[in-house]
């Protein structure tokens, strides 16, 4: 799941304060589950912004809305007319949603209300942890299911480094050393010897170092294209 965190209120206020009609626009998928940008947060934030505006003595109409997902165009269709009545949209979706809406909304600015943080899990209510980096070339089968790309501060392929310290990483006592976890996990799985296999240099271009990525599922894309051809 994509984990986001609402931006500081002051930063948000600075973004919207010079507009007259603002829509706080929530997304009811990932960011709703992490209590950052769902319909409920949109409602609360809109209310706080209205209060701030009246405290500052400025007239801003702040509305709120939310849709199921901001990353597929069909969900926008029923609300787009309403969205276009604003002169600014504060999107509480992840960065994907902000991009996606910006491309479709014409000359109305779309600003981010949350910081998109990482792909994470929710081990306990209110706690979110980063476990995957979306690198495009998964090696978890080599590392006992524990990802050194996301969880090692140096993304080492052959670890641990000299900074490992009683199971913790040198950057902070609150961060586990991923390679320590990998070692313990491999011991448990009885494949400790795999630790000694040297991993070759990695091709980082599968990740975002290789530029923006795109995936096309030919069999589905083809069906879509046929449908379109028939229609035209």
């Amino acid at each position: 799941m994509i984990i986001g965190k609402q931006k500081p209120f002051e930063e948000i206020w600075d973004m919207i304060k010079n507009f007259k009609k603002v829509l706080v626009f929530g997304c009811n998928t990932c960011v709703a589950i992490c209590h950052a940008g769902g319909g409920k947060e949109a409602e609360i934030l809109a209310s706080m912004l209205r209060m701030r505006a009246s405290l500052e003595g400025v007239e801003i109409e702040v509305k709120h809305a939310a849709i199921e997902r901001h990353c597929e165009p069909e969900f926008f269709e029923p609300v787009m007319d309403n969205v276009r009545t604003s002169d600014m949209v504060l999107s509480l979706a992840c960065g994907v949603g902000v991009n996606f809406l910006s491309e479709r909304i014409g000359n109305i600015p779309v600003y981010p209300g949350i910081n998109t943080e990482f792909y994470g899990a929710v081990p306990k209510a209110g706690i979110f942890t980063e476990l995957c980096a979306g690198c495009g070339d998964c090696i978890l089968h080599l590392t006992g299911g524990i990802c050194p790309i996301a969880r090692c501060a140096k993304s080492l392929m052959n670890g641990p480094c000299g900074g490992t310290n009683n199971g913790k990483c040198e950057i902070s006592q609150d961060v586990d050393c991923a390679w320590y976890l990998i070692l313990e996990r491999m011991k448990k799985l009885g494949i400790l010897e795999k630790m000694f296999e040297i991993q070759p240099l990695r091709d980082w271009s599968t990740g975002m170092y290789g530029g923006p990525r795109r995936i096309i599922l030919d069999h589905i894309e083809e069906v879509e294209a046929q449908e379109e051809r028939k229609g035209s």
Binding site: I33, K63, A125
Partner: protein, 1012 residues
């Protein structure tokens, strides 16, 4: 309730005493279909707990906890409270006692008095207040304290001007309800009850006897109970800590411990059990009120033996800067002219020190009432030599007369949770005794059918109360009525002198019928006490009880804005408008019921589990005991004698025999719980041996284990043994030789990180074994190296006995532990003697380690299975450390024994009986009613994010067969945490829905609805 077997046993119980222990027993019994008569000699119930400010170790407000309980007792259909009453005679047998009760005149008719207090305002006579411990005054007509239950006033005849001089009668004039009756003569009544519970409570030691402390002479010397009142926000100083002499804020405050306790020469020989903790609490709370205060506690031994108590004392030291000084104060003197107090004490090295304090608090001990021997005679029971009721270690709540039980401080000094626990324990005992008579004397209320409101617009009736002059002198009641009567939906509005009086209820019913009302708002006092009354009234008029809202314009308006009539009236109008706005949106709610399987499952076949099982089986319920070992008995199999000398193995054998032969108990040994499901009243459990059990309640009695030491060469020398091993040796006939030296070290593996808790049993074990050794051979030498000897309560006798017969006690500090080395087949032990101020070297033949207790390793998995939390030490955490000591937040699950915390055998038995009492309340019902105020879950909105599932304290959201979140409303308490956290707003709590709350906010701020 219609298939009761007729019985000669009475289905009613007499509870003598209305303190927290009596209230618990009364509620448990009345809730499980017994009629209860509560006899209380004060004009209100409440006892000692109502006087306390906060409680240790959680810092919860005492009154806030007990007040709802008092209200519950006061309102209970099957509890009759007889106040100003004393029992004069008891005849008959268990199951059928004839009791005569004398009720003193109150001079105020309870059926007319509404508790408004107008009489009190007018009464000219001021009397020193007993409740405020003489620190302020009350009137001659009064109620004991503002939250008194019942709130009927009483005339103190000895101080009333009319009774003394024949003139005044101002109260009679002031009372608009006509409740004053100077001719009241009191009465005598006779009751037939099946059992009697004695909980008369305590007196406090009169510290004036110890003249050297200057109580009564030096004004800045106060007793601990006076200091409770000083701390209390509703007390004489409104929570401001001031010196009685000059009202100045004290800086240096001293507590003197053991005043009247542990002193067989001048005072009471026993330990009062609670003073170490209450002094620590008072020091902490004092610091919280005023950070300038520097608290010092002068103590002999720190007896913080209860669950999480040691941690509390540690926090007092480290976080609050409380100074603990181990010293006995010989005298307190006042510095002339200043009111300051000079304390003289001997430091550890024997040097005399004089120190000045601004205020001195005497930690006075507890004792039985002065007349407790006479009291015992009335009931035909025996007392012990200290005037406490005589009981037996293995039958801790039974008196010497069958059918008469004892709970609370009449049994011995104890704190609130243990009193509450015993309250439930006696209830359990009575249920077992009178089981078949359940429901024979109770009554249930019948209501007319509910009106169907389908398609009806809101028709709201508003009743605004004057509360005598309580509200009307500050709020313009007529103006409130005038303002709200034309609001949308309101069809009728009026004012009344007392909304809660009996005639007002009749009037309310009449209006509902005549005006065809379908919602009612009463603007009066707090919903805490009065909402159920009005709900019942409208229900009687055929309305669903949830079509009611109460606007509190007394506690939250007139009382706090006295003298500001205009503003108070404005605020009252807003409060009423808010209630009306909500009432428009109220809907009738269904109160579902679920059937109860009248059977229990007990996990753990130790003494706790067996005791609970036997009590429940005697109450008439089927019980399954699940024990992972092959045999029953648990840890008790290793114990041979109690401190008092009872044969434990014989007792255990008899218990196991009783369990195995009981027709309603089935034992599954060598088995564990594999799978659990269901909810209160309807659990289903699959065991590892394949058996499936259906049951209505679960009792977790998973026990504990003894710590296996690694310290002091335990694994390396057969001369180093544990207390348990020594006990076994002594039982098997081994006798100590003359001159043979035994050294015992206390607190091995206890009371230091990571096990910062007292195991409670080890001091008693050490003393028990030391006394046995000395009795077998007086020439054996015994040294007990200790940190604090914790022979709390009446157990102090055995500590004194040990010292008298020549057992040596040498104290050590945790940072200077004894050092042991092996010298041949002997052991050299070096420790510091603080009396001699020298190093002491002992050559021990035997080193005996007093090792504590640990939670059973299974506690963790069992805890996870039932979603019950554990404290940092791994013991199960009860629902509330003071008032719900054997319950869990999730209903229908109870705890007993070592699984809860370390405790002694008698305490384990008490707690096990308490669990049986609490479980009996659930099992005695054919159906459990579910409150209408529950959270409603909308699956279509739900994203199954699990936030609710994870935060719900009652485990009511669950993951269903489709892998989605669903909600079990039967488990729901309507607390609203889920509604708060749900990111999808899929939860709405009935009667507290978002639209209802928003309507109230809109009514309060009177702005347009928000732009959608």
């Amino acid at each position: 309730m219609n298939e009761k077997i007729s019985s000669i046993k009475k289905g009613s119980v007499l509870v003598v005493g209305g303190g927290i222990g009596g209230m618990q027993a009364a509620l448990d019994l009345a809730d499980s279909e017994f009629k209860v008569h509560m006899v209380q000699k004060d004009p209100s119930i409440g006892g000692t707990m109502v006087m306390l400010d906060k409680t240790f170790p959680t810092g919860d407000c005492s009154m806030c906890m007990i007040s709802p309980k008092m209200v519950e007792v006061g309102r209970h259909l099957n509890i009759d409270i007889h106040l100003l009453a004393e029992v004069v005679s008891v005849e008959g047998e268990p199951g059928d006692f004839k009791v005569k009760i004398k009720i003193a005149p109150r001079y105020v008719a309870p059926d007319k008095c509404t508790g408004c207090g107008d009489c009190e305002t007018k009464c000219p006579k001021k009397v020193s207040s007993e409740f405020e411990q003489g620190l302020s005054v009350r009137k001659a007509i009064y109620s004991l304290f503002p939250q008194a239950v019942p709130n009927t006033r009483v005339i103190d005849k000895d101080n009333c001007l009319y009774f003394k001089k024949g003139r005044c009668r101002l109260c009679e004039k002031a009372c608009k309800a006509g409740a004053i009756n100077y001719k009241d003569k009191g009465k005598e009544i006779e009751l037939h009850v099946g059992a009697i519970i004695l909980c008369p409570g305590l007196d406090r030691y009169d510290a004036k006897v110890r003249g050297e402390f200057g109580l009564g002479r030096w004004k800045n010397v106060v007793t601990a109970i006076q200091f409770e009142r000083i701390l209390s926000a509703s007390g004489p100083y409104k929570g401001e800590i001031k010196r009685p002499i000059d009202g100045r804020h004290p800086k240096r405050v001293a507590w003197i411990q053991c005043v009247g306790s542990r002193d067989s020469h001048n005072a009471n020989p026993w330990c009062s059990s609670v003073c170490c903790m209450y002094a620590t609490k008072q020091a902490i709370i004092a610091r919280e009120h005023d950070s300038e205060i520097e608290p010092t506690i002068f103590f002999m031994e720190m007896r913080s033996f209860g669950k999480d108590f040691d941690k509390y004392v540690e926090r007092a030291k480290t976080e609050y800067g409380v100074r603990y000084k181990r010293a006995m104060i010989s005298a307190v003197r006042e510095e002339p002219g200043t009111g300051d107090l000079l304390l003289r004490y001997a430091a550890e090295d024997g040097k005399l020190i004089d120190e000045i304090f601004d205020l001195v608090v005497l930690s006075v001990g507890l004792e039985p009432h002065k007349d407790s021997v006479e009291f015992a005679k009335t009931f035909g029971i025996e007392t012990n030599s200290y005037r406490f009721a005589k009981t037996f270690p293995l039958k801790p709540v039974q008196t010497t007369r069958k059918g008469i039980y004892v709970t609370g401080t009449y049994h011995g000094p104890k704190d609130i949770p243990e009193t509450v626990m015993q309250g439930s324990a006696v209830a359990g005992e009575v249920m077992a005794l009178l089981g078949e008579a359940r429901g024979t004397e109770t009554v249930a209320k019948e209501f007319p059918p509910e009106k169907d409101l389908t398609g009806e617009e809101p028709r709201i009736g508003v009743l605004v109360c004057h509360c005598g002059t309580n509200i009307a002198s500050t709020v313009e009641v007529e103006k409130v009525v005038e303002t709200v009567k034309d609001l949308p939906g309101v069809v009728y509005a009026t004012n009344t002198l007392y909304a809660c009086s009996q005639d007002s209820q009749e009037m309310l019913k009449k209006i509902v019928r005549e005006m065809n009302l379908n919602r009612v708002v009463v603007a009066s006092c707090t919903p805490r006490t009065h909402e159920p009354l009005f709900q019942e009234t409208i229900r009687d008029a055929g309305l669903n009880k949830y079509l009611f809202d109460l606007a509190d314009i007394r506690e939250q308006c007139s009382w706090c804005h006295m003298g500001h009539k205009e503003e108070a009236t404005k605020k009252a109008i807003k409060i009423v408008k808010m209630a009306i706005a909500k009432a428009r949106l109220l809907e009738p709610l269904k109160t579902d019921t679920v059937e109860v399987t009248p059977a229990a499952m007990v996990i753990g076949g130790g003494i706790a589990g067996m005791t609970t099982a036997l009590s429940l089986a005697d109450q008439g319920f089927h019980v399954s005991i699940v024990e992972r070992e092959k045999e029953l008995g648990g840890l008790l199999r290793n114990l041979y004698r109690t401190l008092e000398g009872n044969d434990v193995q014989e007792f255990l054998k008899a218990r196991i025999e009783q369990v195995l032969s009981h027709e309603r108990i089935r034992v599954y040994s060598d088995a564990e719980v594999k799978k659990t499901g269901g909810f209160v009243g309807n659990f289903e459990t699959t065991l590892t041996n394949g058996n499936v059990i259906k049951h209505g309640v679960i009792v977790l009695a998973t026990g504990g284990v003894e710590y296996q030491p690694t310290e002091y060469f335990y694994n390396e020398s057969d001369r180093v043994i544990t207390q348990r091993e020594l006990e076994e040796k002594l039982v098997s006939g081994e006798n100590p030789r003359s001159g043979e030296q035994y050294v015992m070290i206390q607190c091995v593996g206890s009371r230091e990180e990571p096990n910062q808790y007292c195991s409670r049993i080890c001091c008693l074990d050490a003393i028990k074994n030391a006394v046995t050794l000395k009795e077998k051979n007086p020439k054996a030498q015994i040294f007990i190296l200790y940190r604090d000897i914790r022979t709390y309560g009446l157990r102090e006798d055995y500590y004194r006995k040990a010292r008298d017969i020549g057992v040596f006690f040498v104290r050590y500090e945790v940072d200077k532990k004894p050092v042991v080395e092996k010298i041949g087949d002997k052991l050299g032990i070096k420790t510091r003697d603080y009396m001699l101020n020298k190093e002491l070297i002992l050559n021990a033949d035997w080193l005996v380690l007093s090792t504590g207790l640990r939670p059973h390793p299974k506690t963790e998995t069992v805890g996870e299975m039932y979603k019950v939390t554990r404290n940092p030490d791994g013991y199960f955490l009860e629902a509330h450390v003071k008032l719900r000591p054997v319950d869990f937040p999730g209903e229908g699950i109870f705890v007993a024994g070592l699984a809860h915390a370390p405790k002694n055998l008698d305490e384990t038995i008490s707690q096990a009986l308490a669990a049986a009492g609490r479980a009996g309340v659930v099992l005695s019902k054919e159906n459990l009613a579910v409150s209408g105020i529950v959270a409603k879950h909308r699956k279509d909105l739900c994203m199954s994010c699990l936030s609710c599932f994870r935060v719900c304290p009652f485990d009511s959201p669950y993951i269903d067969e489709e892998g989605k979140v669903a909600h079990n409303e039967i488990k729901c308490h309507g607390c609203g945490i889920c509604a708060g956290i749900c990111p999808a707003k899929a939860f709405q709590v009935n009667s507290f829905r978002d639209d209802q709350i928003l309507a109230m906010i809109d009514a309060a701020v009177e702005c347009e609805p928000v732009i959608k």
